[in-house]
Amino acid sequence: MRTFRIPDQVARLAVLFAVAVVALVVVRHIFVPKSFGKLGHYRAAAVDEIASQSVRYAGMQTCVECHTEEAEKKSSSFHRGLACEVCHGPASEHASDPEAKKPFVPRERGACLYCHNYLPSRPTGFPQILEKLHNPMKPCPTCHNPHDPTPPHVPGTCSACHASIARIKAISHHDSLECETCHEASPQHRQDPRSALPKKPTNREFCGKCHAQNAPSAKEIRRIDLATHGGRYLCWQCHYPHYPEGR
C-alpha cells in the first residue's frame, strides 16, 4: 500500500523557499524604516521631521503682545491688513530675545514701492504713486507714518487710486470730462473706498445728454441717433467710456 508522503525534493525546496522568505523578511525589516507604512506608503516619522523645522516669521499676534502702541495705531489705519513682518522681515529671533536681535527697519523708499509704485497690472482702486514724481528723494516716513500712512491730506484726485483709468482717459477724446461728470462720488469714497462706491451711468440717455442729435451740448461733439445707434445695447457695451474713440 502506498501512503502519501511529500516527495523529498519538494520538502527540500520548501525549506529553501522558507529560507528565502525569511531572508526577505529580515532584509525588508532592516532596510524599510520603522514608521514606513504606518500612515500610508511613506515614512510616518518624516511628517514630524518636517513639522519640526524652525519658524522665522513669528506672526503678527506675537509682535502685538509687546508692541501695543504700533499695533494699535496700525489697527485702524490703511495698513490694518498688513503683517508687521512684511515690512520688518522675519523676526521670530527678535520676538524670543528682543535685546539680542533687532529686526530690520525699512526706512528706504524702495520698501514701500514694492506695493505702491504705479503698475498698470495692479487692481483698480489700489493707491499708487509715480515714484519719480511723488516727493522724490525724501524717505516716505518723513510724511507718512508707516503704521498709519494716512496722507497728510486726503488724496485730491481720483487718479491716486485709479491711475490706469486716469492715464488712458487723459489721452482720449473724453479728456475734457471730469470723472465726476459720469461718476457721482461722495468724499467718503476717497477715505474708505469700498464703504461708499461711486455711481456709474445706468442708461443710454446718460450719454445722450451730450451725444444725442438734439442735445444742448457743444457743437463740435459728434452726434448719433439715440433711438437707433447701437440698437438695444448700452453705449459702454461697445465704447470703452474712458477711451471712447477706440473702435
Binding site: V19, V25, V47, V55, Y57, G81, A83, S121
Partner: protein, 253 residues
C-alpha cells in the same frame, strides 16, 4: 544517520535564531511605550487648502520673498516654492507672462506702446492635489500626501530621481542642489501644525491669499468657497487641486 540528524538540527537552529530575533524586534517596543501621542496637534482633524483671489493681488511679491526666508529656499532665481506671474493680454490677443525672479523684487512697469486689453498678477504654488501625479510616480515613497492633505517630501528618503519634478503639471517642484533631493511648498507645514499661517499668507497685504480648512464650516477659506465661483488650474488633468482661484482669467494656465 546521526550526521544527517545533526545537520537537520543545525539548519533548524540556524533558521530559528534570526527568525525569533526578527519576530521579537518586529513587535517593536512594547505597546506600553509605543503610545507616545503627539500633544496638541491632531492631523486627522484638519484638511487644508488655499484660496487665491486673483483680483486682489497687487503683485508686490512679498509672498515669494517670505517663502524663501522662512523655508531657506536658495536665493538664486529658478528655485521657488511660490512665485508671482504677471499676465498681459494685448489687444491683438497675444498673451505674455513674466515673473522676473519670481517677483521677489517686485515688478517694474513694462514699457510698451501696444494696446493692453487687461493685465493682472497670479500667485502660483504647489496645488497640493488630492490626486497628486507626483506621488504616483515616486518610486520609493519619498513624496506623499499627509493625513491633513499636504503633499510633502521626505528628504531622507528621496533618491533625487526627478520623476516627480517631471510629473508635476504646475512646475511647482525643483531639485535642491544642496541636498540633491526634490523640494516644494509644504504649506509651511511646520507653521500650520503650530497654528500659524503659512509665511506667504501671513505677509499678504490684501488677503489675496486665504488659507484654511477645506472641510470645517468656520474657516476663511470656507467663506471664500461660499462667496465666489472658484476654479482650479488645469482641471482637465483631474489632479483635483486644493489651491482654488477666484476671478481666474481663462488665459491662465
Amino acid at each position: 544517520m546521526a550526521t544527517t540528524c545533526e545537520r537537520r538540527e543545525f539548519l533548524l537552529k540556524l533558521l530559528q535564531l534570526p527568525c525569533s530575533a526578527v519576530l521579537l524586534s518586529m513587535c517593536g517596543p512594547l505597546p506600553l511605550f509605543a503610545d507616545e501621542k503627539k500633544e496638541g496637534y491632531d492631523a486627522g482633524e484638519h484638511y487644508y487648502g488655499m484660496g487665491i483671489q486673483v483680483d486682489k493681488c497687487i503683485g508686490c511679491g512679498r509672498c515669494a520673498e517670505a517663502c524663501k526666508a522662512e523655508n531657506d529656499v536658495l536665493r538664486q532665481p529658478y528655485y521657488f516654492r511660490t512665485w508671482v506671474e504677471r499676465y498681459v493680454v494685448y489687444g491683438d490677443g497675444e498673451v505674455t507672462v513674466d515673473s522676473p525672479e519670481g517677483g521677489i523684487h517686485g515688478f517694474s512697469a513694462a514699457e510698451s506702446d501696444r494696446e493692453v486689453l487687461r493685465s493682472f498678477f497670479v500667485p502660483k504654488l504647489c496645488n497640493h492635489c488630492d490626486n497628486p501625479p507626483c506621488v504616483q510616480v515616486c518610486p520609493v515613497g519619498a513624496t506623499f500626501k499627509s493625513v491633513d492633505g499636504v503633499i510633502l517630501v521626505d528628504k531622507d528618503y528621496c533618491i533625487g530621481c526627478r520623476y516627480c519634478i517631471q510629473a508635476c503639471p504646475y512646475g511647482a517642484r525643483y531639485l535642491d542642489p544642496r541636498t540633491k533631493t526634490a523640494d516644494k511648498c509644504t504649506f509651511c507645514y511646520h507653521r500650520i501644525t503650530k497654528g500659524l499661517l503659512p509665511a506667504c499668507v501671513e505677509v499678504c497685504p490684501t488677503q489675496a491669499r486665504v488659507f484654511g480648512e477645506l472641510k470645517a464650516m468656520s474657516s476663511p477659506l470656507r467663506r471664500l468657497m461660499r462667496m465666489s465661483q472658484l476654479q482650479v488650474l488645469k482641471p482637465y488633468l483631474n489632479t483635483e487641486p486644493k489651491v482654488l482661484y477666484s476671478e481666474l482669467d481663462r488665459e491662465v494656465r
